[in-house]
Point group: C2
Chain length 588, copies 2
Amino acid sequence: MAYLRIALAQDNPAVGDLSGNADLLLDRTRQAAERGAHLVVFTEMFLTGYPVEDLVLRTSFVDASIATVASAARRLAEEGLGGLPVVVGYVDRAGLAPRVGQPKGAPLDAAAVLYEGRVLMRTAKHHLPNYGVFDEYRYFVRGDRLPIFRLHGVDVAIAVCEDLWQEGGPVAVVGRAGAGLLVVPNASPYERDKDDVRLELVARRAREAGCALAYVNQFGGQDELVFDGDSLVVSASGELVARAGQFRSELLVVDLDLPLATAPVEPAAYDAGDGTTITVEREVLSSAPLSSEPTPAPIAERLDDAGEVYSALVLAVRDYVAKNGFQSVILGLSGGIDSALTATIASDAIGPSRVHVAMMPSRYSSDHSLGDAEELVRRQGVNSRIVPIADIVTAFEKEIALSGLSAENLQARVRGMILMGLSNEHGHLVLTTGNKSELATGYSTLYGDSAGGFAPIKDVPKTMVWELSRWRNAHTDPSFLLDCAAPIPENSITKEPSAELRPDQRDTDSLPPYEVLDRLLDDYVEKDMGSAELIAAGHDAELVARIIRLVDVAEYKRRQYPPGPKITPKNFGRDRRLPITNRWRESV
Amino acid sequence: MAYLRIALAQDNPAVGDLSGNADLLLDRTRQAAERGAHLVVFTEMFLTGYPVEDLVLRTSFVDASIATVASAARRLAEEGLGGLPVVVGYVDRAGLAPRVGQPKGAPLDAAAVLYEGRVLMRTAKHHLPNYGVFDEYRYFVRGDRLPIFRLHGVDVAIAVCEDLWQEGGPVAVVGRAGAGLLVVPNASPYERDKDDVRLELVARRAREAGCALAYVNQFGGQDELVFDGDSLVVSASGELVARAGQFRSELLVVDLDLPLATAPVEPAAYDAGDGTTITVEREVLSSAPLSSEPTPAPIAERLDDAGEVYSALVLAVRDYVAKNGFQSVILGLSGGIDSALTATIASDAIGPSRVHVAMMPSRYSSDHSLGDAEELVRRQGVNSRIVPIADIVTAFEKEIALSGLSAENLQARVRGMILMGLSNEHGHLVLTTGNKSELATGYSTLYGDSAGGFAPIKDVPKTMVWELSRWRNAHTDPSFLLDCAAPIPENSITKEPSAELRPDQRDTDSLPPYEVLDRLLDDYVEKDMGSAELIAAGHDAELVARIIRLVDVAEYKRRQYPPGPKITPKNFGRDRRLPITNRWRESV
């Protein structure tokens, strides 16, 4: 056996900021060296950020990525870090002749080994995910290699992200080719309960490959995606050895005792078990094994389920604000639970001094609404103003006659316009306060309460809005939360939900109780069940017909909704793509 | 040689309306029989409509498609049409075990031969397009067969759409397997100049396959896509034999003299030249050849370039309105060219009696604006009303202080709210009047002039807006256009463009002339050139930097823009997918 200290850089690279990401790589490598690491592993497409979408089809962008990986290798050597091998993700190109059906420029979701001032080895992701939020057949061609480098006598293999999730390919070859450690750069988006699935998968692949496995994942928010970190190391038997925290920066340093390499160093081709051939390439960096007593590595505790989701939302808001250059946010505070939770997430994300709320009472607003909103302002210390909407609504009604739902929508739109006006005037990002149940059923007004730049709870069903609110009121941990016990007024949590767009309006006037609705929406939206399946699963037949109809006809509204963080297996963004013009109606 | 009369059904199936599409199939087959056809060919995914997006991942939907193709075969036989073979596209499933990375349910973009009351043969698209607006690796697994049926002694092979566009696969096998005719159901979206590319491609594939080729394409609008029909038949030497009209329904009946089949009927496997194997399956329907003197088939004249684009926009609006159940549309008419062209397209699409316009003058509107708008109303006979916005703007300004750009945006948003209010009250679809140059540079107000349900000229650059306006004023053909010479007031075409949101505002205050801007946008947006390439292509360096910056930071606005018809090779919809949160800046 041989001793090896590895460092996993769980960081938050910025999409498109190649020089900033390269600087971060140098900083982290320096820190890893100071902590005595023999190898540093960064995340998938670390130098470009992930996902970069159609940027990867731009020649200038791929050129810049390739230049950056080479200059990073040189800079490491110039700083005396050339002897510390670094595995880092970037975008490369395959050098294939153009053809119809192949992504322009034949880009690769690549990883490189930087060593002694140069790019020593290159590889690329073999399995391209093209489901859920992923469109990687649009962007990349397949990698077909498995690089293995010998470091202090231990063979270290590299695979990339999705190569763990699908059968066959480079990971299947590791066991036969022989390696002591498999390192895997990832950019794997968060969704509920994914950390359990991930640990189980990593353990299984380690056992299949017959070697220890180091999984390093990015963290941070990028448009609709949140990355949770959760980097981990398992032994060859699948036992958890080390685990980084969730939703935070961490340089996870792990001591390992690994078997000495015995395989010949000639390249060889292997049947990858998925109809393709993988070429194993080997380089020897250093053969003499090290020996030392391993220090036990940290195993971070998991957040509970609600804490995890809440943390994802806070991180998503913080990063959307910071990465897009905003200094402050604004939202409409109604006294209801959706806007109360959104305000609280914003306060936790960027601090209450940068959060602005507008209370915009109408003739139908109840007394408790303004009171509950003011109580939240008092508890959190956010900036507030009151903007009555009655006179503006009256001015509209003088010019055009509106009745019923049109008049209700008008109130919502006046509020949306006030927020947008304040945003334009003061540079605030407008946060939209709608939840997933509302977005599903179309219970929102286009350009009204749906107006805004980012929608923090867009993927949170109403029942979970309450759950997260209760959770937040009971916690001041994790450490990034404001030191504010019970930031949400209890009355906002317990009162009956209402949009207050007409006298005595209640959500239950036209919707079933949210426990019933959310179960049905989960089966229809997340699980894609048809009518017959939904009824067989115990949902009321009349309700199934009515809710499906609501969901289907609201597609046009969802298309114009602002982005917001995905926290479920299927969000109303790239996860679910349906035509607007659509005569398909589920029927039994 | 043997005689065969084939019928190509160029129709407009509705997405999701399986029973309606099946009825249409019966009608057309009856008509084809009356006209003496021996074979009827329908378009790709005719029974389900195309594209159906994530509906294809729903078990209930695929079940319904499979049931519909079987019932359509039975109904044909019940009506005495069972002896007339029908080739039709639908969705099937491959029956593969589920695995990660494979579309749920393993759906197939299938085609079937219906004959004597049953589904005689099945095949599926082999090449799956996953570029531009297409995401077909998300939806389908590959087909791996080439069905050939012998009809009156002629071997007829079937391939589907993309199989023509990519090298290798079933089309490559046709020549070696031997066939007298290749029929190809398509759903190929329109874009400028595509008809020339298509004819050339079809002719080349016919020569490669060594047989005649019948290409049948759907027409009609479906969300952002417009299909242009343009069905055609070429001889084995690639000569054009027949061509259907553009943007219209047509049953194209074509007489052909084709070689008698000589190939053995046993199934055989062929190397498809793309790393896969294609199994050729054969059925004999009838061996005795027919003999008759072929009647020459119609070769429809092409529309000129502007006529083609204009027709696409009219069809897109007509179908969006009709298929989504609207009776009328509304738009804001400013006197400028964008809204004038949009109103004219709407009048041509659904008739001026169903078009409503609102003139919403502000304190900055010039006299000619209202005059030009009123002149258009007079010429076209659309419904109009005047809604002054000054008092509403004042009511807003009493509640919140806005200056500069914020105040300009307020005016645009008040107009958007008026249109949305009238839409809610009267059920009109709101048409958005922005053009592509504006959408590219972000020169529009979110929830203001960008508000609406459908944006007819969203993919039309400003210079083309003028071109189309001049074209329309000079034409009353094709026949679906209103009988109205010069429906657009000349002054709207010739005056200098202005948003009129402040005194004496001109577009050229902050933008270069549109001829210069549109050339630059075309190179940056459509051709994905980086800064260095743009400057090398002759664009001014300072302008390149400024316009790229405008385009990049407007991404968030485009995400919330309504859908509108794609008419260029790259629209601001599924064709171009960029992150909002994006630090990449092109630089030299």
